[in-house]
């Protein structure tokens, strides 16, 4: 057992925290959100300079070759600073799939992902799938040397801004993944904005034609890749939520210590103290589960991994909503204003619960593993 961070991890944390505190102010974030792109090219370039875009990518493929816990440290900081840039989508999920199963040409992209020149998005969710990983209706049919893609993907983070999409589709052999240029013929991308200001897309594939080598990994070999991508996303979101909860707790603490009513700081009231104690408890439980999720990412036993991931995402989702809601309540009127960061954290935490499976989804999945054991 060892809960300490390496020198390197502490260094990543400190430099990222310093950079974000200086440049990623709430006003800057507001401007990025208003732009509708969900990504500031200058911020993205600086993230690349900090070396974090290639953290998931092995050195021999042009990346930094960091560990899962390095990535966790990064995600915590991005959560703390309320970053909406699609780091998880491109550097963790998208890059992770190519590292795992991409062919040589596809893996060449990893250098460009590391440098920030290219972003990649995971186009998997569909109108009827909710969060079920295997519910894929999009089809890819082989025509001569090409694949023809038909179907609709929804709630794709950075789906419009990304240069490439990893698209899941059914073929005769089962679930398969394809690497698709974002701007290919037969592909229509519609940008939508989430309530926290990040950008998602609805993407229609209406006979988009792909070369044979667009396939990622083996035909019919998509399911384990999809699950691995989801696991990485779950671990990343858990860490992001932990960072956001840390920051929100600190904000709330400062507020209840400074806000005076009845002649005293409202933090002197036991009713509020007990609520804050429960917030801290939930945040610490979430941190514990974030560590567990990251630690279990590489476990080969499918059931053990699934159990840990769903346990973590359930609990972190529950904590995220609880801490978010309580923070707004303790801020009173200021909590429901757009002015303070409080409401922005609240919305981000809400969004994290609804990404890659909400509480009910993961409780069901955990329960299935539990009763199968």
């Amino acid at each position: 057992m060892d809960f300490t961070f390496t020198e390197e991890q502490i260094q990543i944390r400190n430099s990222l925290r310093r950079f974000l505190a200086e440049t990623y102010t709430l006003d800057r974030r507001r401007a990025i959100a208003r732009s509708g792109t969900g990504c500031d090219p200058e911020v993205w370039r600086q993230l690349a300079e900090l070396g974090i875009l290639g953290l998931w990518i092995p050195e021999e493929l042009g990346g930094i070759g960091g560990s899962a816990f390095d990535a966790m440290v990064v995600m915590e900081e991005l959560g703390r600073a309320l970053v909406i840039e699609p780091y998880l989508s491109s550097a963790v999920v998208g890059a992770g799939i190519l590292v795992r199963a991409g062919n040589t040409a596809q893996q060449r992209l990893l250098r460009d992902i590391t440098s920030g020149a290219v972003r990649i998005a995971f186009a998997h969710g569909e109108p009827h799938s909710r969060w079920e990983l295997d519910a894929v209706a999009t089809r890819a049919v082989r025509q001569g040397a090409s694949w023809v893609l038909r179907g609709r993907k929804v709630m794709v983070t950075d789906g419009v801004g990304a240069d490439f999409l990893v698209v899941s589709a059914r073929t005769a052999a089962g679930h398969s993944l394809f690497l698709v240029p974002g701007a290919s013929a037969g592909t229509t991308r519609t940008a939508l904005m989430t309530h926290d200001g990040s950008s998602v897309a609805e993407i229609d594939f209406d006979g988009a034609r792909l070369p044979a080598d667009a396939l990622i990994g083996a035909e019919g070999g998509g399911s384990p890749l999809i699950e691995a991508a989801s696991d990485a996303a779950v671990a990343g979101l858990c860490a992001e939520a932990v960072g956001a909860m840390d920051a929100l707790l600190a904000l709330t603490l400062t507020y209840v210590k400074s806000r005076r009513q009845f002649g005293v700081p409202i933090g002197s009231f036991q009713a509020l103290q007990h609520r804050m104690a429960d917030m801290l408890l939930h945040a610490e439980l979430a941190r514990s589960m974030s560590y567990l999720a990251t630690a279990k990412l590489a476990v080969s036993d499918e059931m053990e991994r699934r159990r840990a991931m769903s346990a973590a995402k359930f609990l972190v989702g529950r904590s995220a909503r609880f801490v978010g809601q309580e923070a707004v309540q303790l801020h009173g009127g200021m909590g429901v204003s757009d002015e303070l960061a409080t409401s922005h954290y609240f919305k981000r935490l809400r969004l994290i619960d609804a990404s890659f499976g909400d509480r009910d989804h993961h409780l069901e999945r955990f329960g299935t593993v539990m009763t199968a054991a």
């Binding site: 057992m1 060892d2 809960f3 300490t4 961070f5 816990f69 603490l253 209840v256 210590k257 933090g267 002197s268 036991q270 103290q273 007990h274 804050m276 104690a277 429960d278 801290l280 408890l281 610490e284 439980l285 979430a286 941190r287 514990s288 589960m289 560590y291 567990l292 990251t294 630690a295 840990a308 346990a311 359930f314 609990l315 409780l363 069901e364 955990f366 329960g367 539990m370 009763t371």
Partner: protein, 399 residues
């Protein structure tokens, strides 16, 4: 960052498991797992067996007969013992009074008392709470007046766990009424056989006799039985509370209770053809508490690591107590609910070790409702959950 136990710790776990399986008498194990009443001899038998390995108080320093286990080993040990159905080693001696004697007691006290804790000769109970002093412990009124080489103790202590079995009690008593209430308290070790002590049972909501009142009427206690200095008892008591650590998370007992809950729910019919555990509404609730237990375990390991790093226990133990007690209560409540209509039955006769009669309802339901009732205590004792939240707010949040 590594959440796994070391290979050495895994070997240690196997060693403990093998020992408990080989040495725990089946009759005692069956009583524990079957929720039967344990008598004094059951606890002591297990203490004597553990003492053959030096495992009654294994975290003690070696010079006092301990093994200097770190908290991780203690956690593993407690978990294996609980899962195997061993009776708990009560904290009052090894974990509560002993660290106080080691730290603040004199050599004569250490030489006399510590070995008798290990061999089971002394059964300790805790004389803290009074009818008027619960969460506000410092307001205690039991008086000790100095008369020559003795204190004369008068007053009443209450909620004393298993005082009916104990032969020694450690007490906080008032030796001064000057200054702040905390400044006039002394820490006395009292032989329960001393004339003037009366133990009266308090029956709990499950009908069981687990706690007691202890009355002191002109009880003469040698000054030699005072720990440390007069009027410094509050300091020693606070030190003692700092030693109620990771075991407050109750990981072992909760894991055992969860295992039992799943077995009950897997056997419980629902009229639909499916067992209760397959019904989504109930399965979700088991799943949620199991997830909570997973998180609590990781958090407990983190607290152990934090304590190790800074060499002193911190306020995080309050998080473990708060959440650990909530989990215990949730599991006991679900187990009771799993019995369906039979949860309403009260069959205390079936808790007797020699009971051979039949019971109504599922046989695995014996003692389950009683435990639900009994478990309400866990968010009240050892600092109520409201006190724990106060501690968290003050010492972790600075409020």
């Amino acid at each position: 960052m590594d959440l796994n136990f070391s290979p050495e710790e895994d070997r240690f776990r196997n060693e403990v498991r093998a020992f408990v399986v080989a040495e725990l008498p089946h009759a005692i194990r069956d009583k524990v797992l079957g929720h039967k009443r344990l008598d004094r001899e059951d606890y002591l038998t297990w203490v004597r067996i553990l003492n053959t390995r030096g495992w009654v108080a294994p975290s003690w320093p070696r010079r006092f007969g301990g093994q200097e286990w770190d908290p991780a080993r203690e956690l593993i040990f407690e978990e294996e013992c609980a899962l195997a159905g061993a009776p708990p080693v009560l904290s009052f001696g090894p974990r509560m009074v002993a660290p106080v004697i080691m730290t603040f007691g004199n050599q004569a006290q250490q030489e006399y008392f510590l070995p008798r804790i290990l061999n089971g000769e002394h059964w300790w109970c805790q004389g803290y709470s009074e009818p008027g002093a619960g969460s506000d412990l410092a307001s205690l009124k039991t008086r000790a007046e100095r008369r020559g080489d003795a204190y004369i103790v008068n007053g009443q202590k209450t909620w004393i766990t298993l005082a009916q079995h104990a032969n020694w009690i450690f007490c906080l008593v008032r030796t001064s009424t000057e200054g702040r209430p905390q400044m006039g308290i002394s820490f006395l070790l009292i032989d329960m056989k001393t004339p003037g002590i009366t133990v009266r049972p308090i029956f709990m909501l499950d009908g069981e006799h687990e706690i007691n009142e202890v009355w002191f009427d002109e009880v003469e206690v040698p000054v030699a039985n005072r720990i440390g200095e007069e009027n410094k008892g509050w300091t020693y008591a606070k030190f003692l509370l700092g030693h109620e650590r990771v075991s407050n998370a109750a990981l072992g007992p909760s894991k055992r209770a969860l295992r039992e809950l799943k077995a009950i729910a897997a056997a419980a019919p629902t009229g639909s053809g499916l067992p209760l555990i397959e019904m989504p509404r109930f399965r979700d609730r088991i799943a949620e508490v199991e997830i909570d237990l997973i998180a609590l375990e990781v958090m407990a390991l983190r607290v152990i690591a934090m304590d190790r790093e800074r060499h002193t226990p911190g306020p995080e133990a309050s998080l473990l107590k708060l959440q650990g007690s909530q989990i215990q209560q949730t599991i006991s409540e679900l187990a009771m609910e799993a019995l369906g209509p039979y949860a309403a039955l009260h069959q205390p006769q079936a808790l007797a070790p020699d009971w051979n009669g039949s019971v109504a309802g599922p046989p695995e339901g014996i003692g389950i409702t009683a435990r639900y009732l009994n478990c309400r205590k866990v968010s009240i004792y050892a600092g109520s959950n409201e006190i724990q939240r106060n501690i968290i707010a003050r010492h972790m949040l600075g409020l």
